[in-house]
């Protein structure tokens, strides 16, 4: 088992979740979301990793290589995370110009 990796994954995801739930500042919330995404990506990479494996590039002389599929998934997930972050920052600029603050003022409303 690769405990250090899984502990890092759990720590990143929990820090991210804590930030989303506890912080009022929207910028901090979006940073926390990015942290969480990084944690999930690390989880995917860890699942595909084989100790001592090389990069999955077919050049004729490899014996042991890491699982290529999770790496492709992570690549997709990174692109998605990037687009979400870009949109989030745009919305944040709009929010600031409308309200003059980055604090989220209203929480749950019924």
């Amino acid at each position: 088992m690769m405990w250090p990796e899984y502990i890092t994954v759990a720590a990143l995801i929990s820090i991210g979740l804590y930030g989303v739930m506890a912080k009022k500042n929207l910028m901090k919330i979006f940073i926390a979301l990015s942290l969480m995404e990084t944690g999930v990506n690390l989880l995917l990479i860890t699942i595909g990793y084989i100790p001592g494996g090389t990069a999955p590039i077919e050049n004729g002389n490899f014996a042991k290589y890491v699982d290529p599929l999770p790496q492709a998934l992570v690549l997709t997930a990174i692109v998605i995370g990037l687009s979400v972050t870009a949109l989030a920052l745009t919305l944040l600029i709009w929010y600031h110009s409308k309200t003059g603050t980055l604090e989220y003022r209203r929480g749950m409303r019924w």
Partner: protein, 442 residues
């Protein structure tokens, strides 16, 4: 030759061609959506005649490559989403960026119902979700931006959870193919299975407006312009509830169905009670949407026990997609000013509370039949209780709006009238079908 992949590729390509076609973008988008709707009719006809279609993409065979899987229900859902998207788009008066986002959101919603690969499903979820965040914010006032931010925060947490669930399944089975997973799910460690199921349910549940995860719903629906609120109620939410149904079929344990049933009941009760207590009209409609999503989930959670479950879910989906979307479309103006919006309001409300002969009636009818077969009287009582609450607050809604109102905007109320007519047609068809069947049998 109709292949399901066209329905995903055409709007995706069109969306990215949009900057080149700035001037005629509205006609262009409309014709693409119409083409997609026609394709989905043909696809449904083909699936109905020849059985389910499995199509591999890019020549990689199923366990490794991505493939699309289309059965009757997913073809019908694709048809509903594309048809309503076409009608709804008529009301758009914005620039080409809006059309682009709209096409992307439709692509994603169609992809969710057609795909047979769980990671592919995640990607389509993200396409729909990111496009919807932007569409909600496209009204650009304070409420819209606030609703969009709230939607985005919850949606991003949900998508991370979904990805964790996928990672757990992949780590156990080394497969992303839905049918391969379904075939080998019993070889998975039960603890891991529950872990991945709960992560996936939480992740998709955000989009599907399930109970503890739907804090964004009223704010996003209230903030969004009326045609986007309408789009949200037939596009992403219906696609995601169908994704949950597929998930339930894959995991296929009696305990997961039970969990879905409880979540559905909680969603139904909380949604209807919150709608009852709500003063703001758009928020009331949004909470009522939550309640209806709970009803659909209850129907899907009975899928294993009774053959009534799928028709019930189908009719509730049709009724909600047509009636609620049209009510949202005319919610831009205060009151029902003209004869068209009066018709829309009346027909929509009748279908939602389940009056015959509307589609909503058949949904509740089949659902109660299925529940009666299973002798789950407590669930039946909850459904009837929530229907009564629904009838009360919709009566209040009609009472407030049927009198004098602002003069109606025909650009909105005519598409709404077309949408709500689907509810009536789908309500009368089973009646005709049953009577014709009765005549034939006699």
């Amino acid at each position: 030759m109709v292949t399901p992949v066209l329905m995903i590729v055409i709007p995706l390509l069109a969306a990215f061609l949009m900057p080149l076609i700035k001037k005629a973008h509205r006609y262009f988008t409309f014709s693409i959506l119409l083409l997609n709707a026609i394709l989905s009719v043909l696809l449904f006809a083909k699936v109905y005649n020849d059985g389910a279609i499995y199509e591999t993409i890019a020549g990689f065979s199923p366990p490794v490559g991505i493939y699309l899987a289309v059965d009757n229900l997913s073809a019908l859902l694709a048809l509903i989403i594309n048809l309503f998207a076409t009608i709804n788009f008529v009301t758009s008066k914005k620039d080409f960026k809006f059309s682009m986002l709209y096409l992307l959101a439709v692509t994603g919603a169609t992809g969710i119902v057609l795909t047979g690969d769980i990671f592919n499903m995640f990607v389509f979820f993200e396409i729909t979700a990111v496009a919807s965040y932007a569409l909600v914010a496209s009204k650009k006032d304070e409420k819209a931006v606030e609703g969009s931010i709230k939607y985005m925060i919850l949606g991003s947490v949900g998508s991370s959870f979904m990805l964790i669930g996928i990672a757990i399944i992949y780590s156990q089975l080394k497969s992303l193919n839905l049918y391969d997973i379904a075939a080998r799910i019993s070889s998975m460690d039960p603890k891991m299975m529950w872990l991945s199921f709960s992560f996936l349910l939480t992740g998709i549940g955000v989009e599907a407006e399930l109970f503890p995860l739907n804090g964004w719903v009223p704010d996003a629906y209230e903030g969004a312009s009326s045609n986007i609120a309408s789009f949200l109620s037939f596009g992403p939410s219906k696609a995601s509830i169908y994704a949950i149904a597929r998930l339930l079929i894959i995991f296929s344990m009696s305990r997961t169905y039970e969990l879905a049933l409880y979540v559905g009941i909680a969603t139904l009760l909380i949604g209807e009670v919150a709608a009852f207590m709500q003063k703001n009209e758009k928020r009331m409609l949004a909470y009522s949407s939550i309640g209806q999503m709970g009803l659909i989930l209850i129907a899907f959670s009975l899928i294993k026990d009774t053959s009534y479950a799928i028709p019930a879910a189908f009719f509730i989906i049709v009724s909600h997609a047509s009636a609620k979307s049209s009510l949202f479309l005319i919610s831009g103006k205060k009151g029902f000013g003209g004869i068209t919006s009066k018709y829309v309001g009346l027909a929509g409300v009748l279908s939602l509370i389940g009056m015959p002969p509307m589609a909503g009636f058949w949904g509740k009818w089949y659902l109660l039949m299925g529940i009666a077969d299973e002798k789950m009287w407590a669930v039946a009582a909850v459904i009837i209780f929530s229907a009564v609450i629904e009838a009360i607050y919709f009566a209040r809604y009609l009472h407030k709006n049927l009198g004098e109102g602002e003069s109606e905007d025909l650009g909105y109320s005519i598409p709404a009238a077309v949408m709500v007519s689907v509810s009536i047609i789908m309500g009368i068809l089973p009646l005709v079908y049953n009577m014709a069947g009765g005549v034939l049998n006699a």
